[in-house]
Amino acid sequence: MQAFKQSSIVLLVVLLSATACRKDPPPTFVLNEVELYPSGAGKTKLKSNEQYVAILFTNLFQAALSPNDIFDVNNCIESIGDKELAREVIISNFMNDPDVLLPTIEEMQADPDQFIQDTYVRFLVRRPSEAERTYLRNTIETDPYMTPELIYFSFALSNEYMYY
């Protein structure tokens, strides 16, 4: 009897030690990739003519405009009183260049949401709000004349594009 008790106690100890709390494995931390963009509210500084032209050219051609050309385009803007009109004419000239890089209408219509997202990021360096996305998607879907070129034109001529 005494031996049975001792055996039971030993067995109990063994069982308890086998089923006791285990130590958690050490935690592993990872970083998710999140692209951060400023909001429109943070844009308070007006671009100079030179900055505007350099960025516009990069956005449209994915290449850099030479410093001499930037100087010459600035002269053109200075020589016209209505600066918005001057920018409009300069954009029209760039759009007439065969090297301008524009998505096709088919690409835009195949995935309007992606096109909208890309356009906002490219020109305004931010994501569209849901209202902006909806408005632009409706425009793309309902206006038969709306092309990527005209959308790029609007963005390049917008007031927000003049600020950083």
Partner: protein, 444 residues
């Protein structure tokens, strides 16, 4: 409909019916209180300083160089008087020996009124231009700075109801303050009332040909309209954050007209068919050619043209004489072109010509190729200028004041334009002009 609603709507409709005829294109409610004397005004400014001795006093070399007793009038489109007979250096050809023939059958002086002795406020660059355009004496205003007080452009657009393409400033270049003079930084006025501006030798010159001339032509309704619509949506969204760009307020139609004008100017420049004067061998004369084209296209109420070649007098007296002779040729061409090529402006346009300042009585040490001394602008003689005007309602063949009895101040030019175009009471009420500033018409 309830009676109260009916009465409310009826009252609004009635008020609208009465008010509508008085709402001007600019959006202002009432027409200017002054009476408009002419339909169009052209103001020609000679920037950089013109000596009285070589202009209204007609002394030519006699008043400027030692041992050169050769007087004469080298501005015979504008002023009465015989040209010099000897030592001709201001014309065309090698050595400038061929004077440019007069373009007008009778001088502007005989067609209008000359104020031969007018007082300038500033002998420095742009101080005079600012006084002419603002009617004030802000002589401390720096270079590369917008006018502090409202300009005549803004007074006309805000109080006269003129549209953006009714008011033009044509500059001889884009250096220093010139492209900034089309509107002021005044909080009650500013860009929305500013003048349209071109510096044609840049806009339609090499830079413009490379970056502006090849503009794609978009369909106004099918392409431009949706493009603008989306732009306005983006702008409205951005305005929620508080930022708004200054604009001149050209309507979409006005912008389209300006773009078409630019297209035509690029084509005419390449064809060499711009309405340049018979002689167009300097920048001022070519600028004037584009100004004439602009007047023909837009028929502006006010066209201000700034010429600047005379300022080479700092180092080249011979060149200055040639530039002054050409400035006169430019004025003759403008007047001739308006009367003969722009029927809508003929016989209802007034022209005013004035330098922004004079030049010194004593020369500096710089000698030119003829060994003639050059003149800066910094002394009392540089505060002596003239003002010449002609056109309907302006008395002909009249001279007001003389060397011993100066009449008129440089700021009066602005009030005179305001008077001619019907906004004089509003300009006077604004309280921004120099005290004592009067229309020259009120000093006759």
């Amino acid at each position: 409909m309830k009676r109260r609603d009916f009465l409310k709507k009826t009252s609004i409709s009635t008020a609208g019916a009465f008010a509508a005829p008085y709402i001007l294109p600019s959006g202002r409610l009432f027409a200017p209180t002054g009476s408009q004397l002419v339909q169009h005004v052209v103001l020609v400014m000679f920037a950089g300083g013109v000596r009285q001795q070589e202009s209204v006093l007609q002394q030519y070399l006699d008043g400027s160089q030692e041992n050169e007793p050769y007087p004469g009038n080298i501005m015979y489109n504008m002023l009465n008087g015989a040209p010099p007979e000897q030592k001709i250096v201001f014309g065309t050809g090698e050595g400038g020996i061929n004077p440019i023939p007069s373009l007008l059958n009778s001088t502007l002086q005989s067609q209008g009124t000359l104020f031969p002795e007018v007082s300038a406020f500033s002998a420095g660059h742009y101080g005079g231009l600012n006084s002419i355009l603002q009617g004030s004496t802000v002589t401390t205003q720096g270079l590369k700075q917008k006018p502090v007080n409202p300009t005549i452009f803004e007074f006309l657009r805000r109080h006269g109801g003129y549209s953006a393409t009714d008011i033009w400033f044509v500059g001889n270049g884009i250096g220093n303050s010139t492209p900034l003079l089309n509107y002021s930084a005044h909080p009650d006025y500013g860009a929305q009332y500013g003048a349209n501006f071109f510096a044609p030798l840049v806009t339609f010159g090499e830079n413009g040909q490379e970056f502006l001339a090849d503009a794609k032509v978009y369909h106004p309704e099918n392409e431009l309209s949706p493009m603008y619509k989306l732009k306005y949506f983006l702008d409205n969204t951005f305005e929620q954050y508080g930022s708004r760009l200054e604009t001149l307020g050209n309507t979409e139609e006005e912008k389209q007209s300006i773009k078409l004008f630019m297209d035509e100017m690029f084509a005419k420049t390449l064809n060499n068919s711009i309405a340049h004067p018979a002689v167009s061998d300097n920048g001022d004369l070519r600028t004037v050619g584009y100004a004439c084209e602009l007047m023909n296209w837009f028929r502006p109420a006010l066209t201000v043209v700034n010429l600047g070649a005379v300022d080479q007098c700092h180092s080249n007296f011979t060149g200055y004489l040639a530039a002054l002779h050409r400035a006169d040729h430019a004025v003759g061409h403008i007047w001739n072109y308006i009367q003969s090529q722009v029927p809508d402006m003929a016989n209802n346009t007034a022209i005013i010509c004035t330098p922004e300042c004079g030049r010194n009585s004593d020369p500096n040490p710089i000698l030119d190729t003829n060994e003639w001394r050059a003149y800066d602008h910094s002394d009392e003689n540089a505060l002596r200028i003239f003002s010449l005007m002609a056109g309907p309602t302006i008395p002909s063949n009249l001279m007001v004041g003389n060397e011993d009895n100066p009449v008129g101040r440089i700021s009066d030019t602005m009030m005179t334009v305001a008077d001619l175009l019907g906004v004089k009471p509003e300009v006077q009420a604004a309280g921004t002009v120099s005290p004592g500033t009067m229309s020259l018409l009120d000093q006759i």
